[in-house]
Amino acid sequence: MEHPHKPTPLTKKFFTPWVIVLAAIALNGILFLLARFVFGIGAVTNLDNQYPWGIWIGLDVAAGVALAAGGFTTAAIGHIMHNDKYESIIRPALLTALLGYTFVAVSVMVDLGRWYYIWHPIIMWNGNSALFEVGICVMIYLTVLYIEFLPIVTERFIGRVNLPGILSRFNKLVNTFLIKLDKGLDKTMFIFIIAGVVLSCLHQSSLGTLMIIAGPKMHPLWQTPILPLLFLLSAIAVGFPMVIMESLTASRSFGLKPETEVLNSLSRFIAPLLGIYLIAKIGDMVIRETFVYLSELNSTTILFGIEVVIGVIVPLRMFMSPAVRESTKGLYIASMLVIFGIVMNRFNNFITAYNPPYALDSYMPSIGEISVTLGFIAIEILLYRLFVKIFPVISIPAKKSLSKTKFAIRGAAK
């Protein structure tokens, strides 16, 4: 490979004070998770017959799927449009998508009352159900993501297979298998890459169709027949900010120089993408005349305001400014705002907007629900850290220098 950027497993030590904090959060989540499986959903959550879905669906699943959009957006721009300069960010984005979707599947399972029947949709079909579409698409896409990740695994182990003890006699056999697998994958990978993008477009939008059937139970500020379009557009818009946020966090955490040039170039797309989303959202409001609801001041309209102003309009303005795009801090803050906005949007769609007809109190997530959600996020970050240490995911300069400041920016040169 003569690429200037070469993904390499990172050698920095795993444990830092932050890692220990995250591990504690993860452990706390796992304890509540155990309680959920031993005592039932009712014992751990605040869900009831009025509020059948809480943050495990609204955040863990809906926002989780949206935030994993970095995977298919970078695949589209890097692989499908053959923009080689983005090569260095595709692998980290793929890893995030892989972990993100894995935990979406796990979260669905945790929320399912009869979780051991999670495979039923594979053989029991209901083409009318938006949830069925989401379920099948996510299952296939998760498989595709694992296949897309396989070349990274083969790259790591080819010529380095070292099985312990008696198994070591199979070293050569496994190595040959890996080489064959790698060759086969290389030839067919384009099928999976395109499939991944198509599947993502499908289920990102179908996730928006989910709440449409709730009809008048959904607040009109969010309930609209174009929800699938809004979900797709917002997912596409949050893809790059997510990649930027991760890249900057990882560089900082591993003491690498941020890939400012690639990220800056990537960030130019964000303002137009956010703009299209905003136009669709505002246009829909104007056509359906739902802005009348904004004249009342209550928690619902405040949450809507936060979602649109802080989560879309402010970062849109920020990404339009070259000064912001060129500064690491500016990029980081603006990206975080976009992520916040999309998370708020999913939360609002699934929780704020949902007003069941006979509810006496509003739903508030329980400590158990919050613990599990935070626990999953912590586990995801820890796994990410572990994976970049094991597999060649993050690109670092080929020539290692002892001084961090001498690291060149990689991935930008062609």
Binding site: A76, M81, H120, A130, G135, L202, K217
Partner: protein
């Protein structure tokens, strides 16, 4: 990617063909589930809230018919329960609530699954476990259910209940229109026990005629609207009362069917699998063209 152009085209074409074959199969499958062919023979119950005395014997009988512990029938005369607005739950598939009627008099109304003609739950169920039967009842197969609770999100009347207290095998529960009893020719348990004939079981179209007859004979007694005749495309259970039940006892609903918008979007996105295949082809084309461009640039 060391892939030559011809292989690429071949594979894309193969995928296109198989997707086309898939699409030829699936629309039938989709149509088979949709409750468009409603039977003229479907049954219903007419609830006359002006007649109900709030004895709650129906609650007792319902529990008995569904193997739920129902205790002593005398205890159901206790009127304290009317102080709170109750909802059907996993251990009580029907409940009677008391509400203030037009002339500040108290009236009673029995609530349970409405057995919609175009049920949102049937459309929503991820595994297709819920179905609308010819006799009008909306029933479900617990063995298929995965407990996702999307039916509860979808139901406009917020009827399906879930056994949140169970760690293993929690079930979705709601009124099943006493499907077993009616198949044996018996009346639904609640209707059979009602001492004042507040509940009338019969063909839905006959019940509509009966309701209108009552309006005509006793115009002062009724608010002239049959709740459930047209709401969300019609329900099997029909309500008449001395005041408008929409907005108080029931949510305000329009006459469009509950799953209508969602299903048309869903089928639009997947019309014969054309949109997904088209996107696939488009992306494949872009991938191929940009690759080509790069090659020539390189040379």
């Amino acid at each position: 990617m060391s892939q030559n152009r011809r292989d690429f085209l071949k594979t894309v074409a193969a995928i296109g063909t198989s997707a086309g074959a898939l699409s030829a199969l699936s629309p039938n499958k989709v149509k088979a589930k949709s409750p468009e062919n409603l039977s003229e023979e479907r049954m219903g119950v007419l609830v006359d809230a002006t007649v109900c005395i709030g004895c709650r014997k129906c609650e007792w009988a319902c529990r008995g018919a569904h193997d739920i512990e129902n205790g002593n029938i005398q205890d159901y005369a206790d009127e304290k329960v009317f102080e709170t607005n109750r909802r059907p739950d996993y251990d009580n598939l029907t409940i009677v609530n008391r509400y203030e009627s037009s002339d500040e008099k108290l009236s009673n109304v029995k609530l349970q699954c409405m057995h919609c003609d175009h049920p949102a739950c049937v459309s929503a169920c991820i595994v297709g476990a819920i179905s609308k039967k010819k006799n009008g009842s909306v029933v479900w197969d617990t063995d298929m259910c995965i407990g996702c609770r999307y039916c509860m999100v979808a139901c406009p009347f917020q009827i399906p209940a879930f056994e949140y207290h169970k760690a293993l095998d929690p079930k979705i529960v709601k009124c099943d229109f006493c499907d077993e009893r009616t198949m044996e020719g018996k009346l639904p348990a609640c209707t059979a026990i009602c001492p004042v004939e507040a509940l009338t079981y019969g063909k839905r179209e006959d019940l509509l005629i009966e309701a209108k007859r009552r309006f005509k004979n006793n115009p002062d007694r009724y608010y002239q609207h049959i709740f459930g005749e047209h709401e969300i495309g019609g329900t099997s259970w029909l309500y008449i009362a001395d005041k408008d039940l929409a907005g108080t006892v029931f949510p305000k609903l329009d006459n469009r069917t509950a799953p209508g918008v969602s299903e048309s979007i869903q089928h639009g996105l997947f019309a014969y699998f054309v949109p997904p295949v088209a996107v696939y082809a488009l992306l494949g084309g872009i991938m191929w063209l940009t690759k080509d461009k790069k090659k020539t640039e390189g040379k």
